[in-house]
Amino acid sequence: MLVETGTVLAAEDLTVELGGLPVLRGVGIAVRAGEAVALLGGNGSGKSTLVRTVLGLLPHQRGTVRLFGSPLRDFRDWSRIGYVPQRSAALFGGSKVKEVVTAGRLARRRLFRSLPRADRDAVRTAITLVGLAEQRNADIAELSGGQQQRALIARALAGEPDLLVLDEPISGVDLEHQRVLADVLAGLLSAGTSALVVLHDVGPLGSLLDRAVVLSDGRVVHDGALGDLGQHRRRLGGHEYLDHGPAAAPDHDDRERLLGGAVEP
């Protein structure tokens, strides 16, 4: 089992270029066991790229990634990770909700075997947790956007992971189910699960998160308590500020001052 004092996810000096353009420039991020970290930033700031890179879905040009202490290249314990992507090809249809969710057990399944009872139970539990029990046999494409998002969350939960990596998990989910998902996440966190949550806005998950890392233009501009962030945000005139990409460069000095010198030179 996991060493509770360990770091479950660590990236250092991560540099990623996509199509020749730098998207991440020397990013460092760490999630300790049992910790819930928010990853914030505007559109194009590199949040999803960072998440996809630490999971090995995108190659990086420089830097290191370690998952549960192992270098990414040697990491094999994938059942410990539950990933909720921002978009999924699984939503095109042709699959039942329970088939999509069952894929979340794959890291634990052996080849050429039928699904053991424990896996079926985990799938059923995950579907019930996100409130899709009545839709479990529906085609995933027939669901609303919010329901599809909940199905993807159920898929990650089905694997009973130690680290959840959630890319905007509650976008498109109605308020009632945002609260439901927040409760589910709270339960998992109190049971010792760690989480890295990409968010556009903190929203109902705010009270659950221990720390926030803010990306802007491919760099970490804040790494610390959420409370401090709120203060910065207010002074920066709200969330809009973070939406500016490279075009906002003239504000750079300003931002550096406001964020307490967290911006790299």
Binding site: A90, K96, R109, L111, L132, A138
Partner: protein
């Protein structure tokens, strides 16, 4: 039916058709899921190079075509994984190169391009016992993998990135799928022919998607349609003296065309099962039936279909309708 079973060549033809009907939709399901529906068509071109080589060297065509096809499929997959813009052109060069090489090699072998016709359109009735043994062996391999590894192949074909975060060796599975598709194409050149095999990989899958819901049911239904059309077409073409390959594919397309109105009916029936008959009966309302303990709160987008009912909204809940009334829900 008894009459045609008395001819050994028809026995072999029917068994070969049965095996093709089993394996083509089984592997086709994954090929379609990956949006590579035309892969089989391209591989058919490559298989012709193998046939040409076999004619030139005087060896059995199926084994050489299998090898050529697998090699072509692996090249296709590598080009695709590199994701280069030149990959598309690379595919075209590979496919037409295969076709040209096949025609060229058969020409210098003395057989001539006409000798390729039976492979282009199939020749079920000339399947030899040796052909049949090879087809049966490879069909078993294909079925064991496509059904035994269904959860893994489904995941990599549907959502490659998520499959990767489950630790699946995605590239290896992709190579497996295209290689099995290649084997299927090469085997099918004796049954429905290289030009038509792709149809048997795609059309039953498309028809099945109209008829049933879910991936696993779709796989089973596609195989059933494949077997029915392949065996039915092979048997029927014996009586009406038609080209079996073409007849099998036309039958499959017939299934597909019929599946459209059928899917409409199936969906309506499902909808009817969800939406009970909307009796606009005041007595029912007047009776004021309160639902049992109901912790769920209905709201727009809560997952239960909303129906306008007079001056308020009902939510369809497990076959009956709930309407909010003070602190509880009424049955409407």
């Amino acid at each position: 039916m008894i009459e045609i079973l008395s001819y050994p060549f028809m026995q072999r033809a029917l068994i070969a058709a049965l095996l093709t009907g089993l394996i083509a939709p089984a592997i086709g399901t994954y090929v379609v899921q990956r949006r590579l529906s035309l892969l089989g068509d391209g591989l058919g071109h490559v298989a012709l190079a193998g046939v040409g080589l076999a004619l030139l060297t005087g060896t059995a065509p199926i084994p050489i075509a299998v090898v050529a096809c697998i090699a072509g499929a692996v090249v296709v997959e590598i080009l695709r994984q590199r994701g280069k813009a030149s990959g598309d052109v690379g595919l075209a060069v590979l496919f037409y190169g295969g076709l040209a090489a096949g025609v060229f090699l058969s020409g210098i072998s003395g057989v001539g391009a006409a000798g390729l016709t039976q492979y282009l359109f199939g020749s079920l009735t000339t399947v030899t016992p040796n052909d049949l043994t090879l087809i049966a062996l490879l069909a078993v391999v294909i079925l064991v993998i496509t059904l035994g590894l269904a959860p893994q192949l489904y995941a990599v074909s549907t959502d490659e990135e998520f499959a990767r975060t489950q630790g699946l060796r995605v590239r290896l599975y992709h190579i497996t799928v295209v290689s099995l598709a290649a084997v299927t194409v090469a085997l099918a050149m004796r049954t429905v022919g290289l030009l038509l095999v792709s149809a048997l990989m795609v059309v039953p899958v498309a028809a099945a998607r109209n008829l049933v819901r879910g991936f696993t049911s779709g796989l089973g239904c596609a195989i059933a349609i494949g077997v029915a059309t392949a065996v039915g077409g092979a048997a029927a073409s014996f009586y009406i003296n038609a080209a079996p390959g073409a007849f099998i594919v036309l039958l499959a397309i017939g299934f597909f065309v019929l599946s459209w109105p059928l899917s409409y009916l199936v969906r309506r029936r499902r909808a009817a099962a969800v939406l009970p008959e909307l009796v606009d009966d005041d007595e029912l309302v007047a009776a004021h039936m309160v639902t049992e303990s109901h912790p769920h709160r209905h709201a727009p987008g809560c997952g239960h279909p909303a129906v306008q009912h007079g001056d308020h909204t009902d939510f369809i809940h497990e076959g009956h309708r709930h309407a909010a009334h003070a602190d509880h829900y009424d049955e409407h």
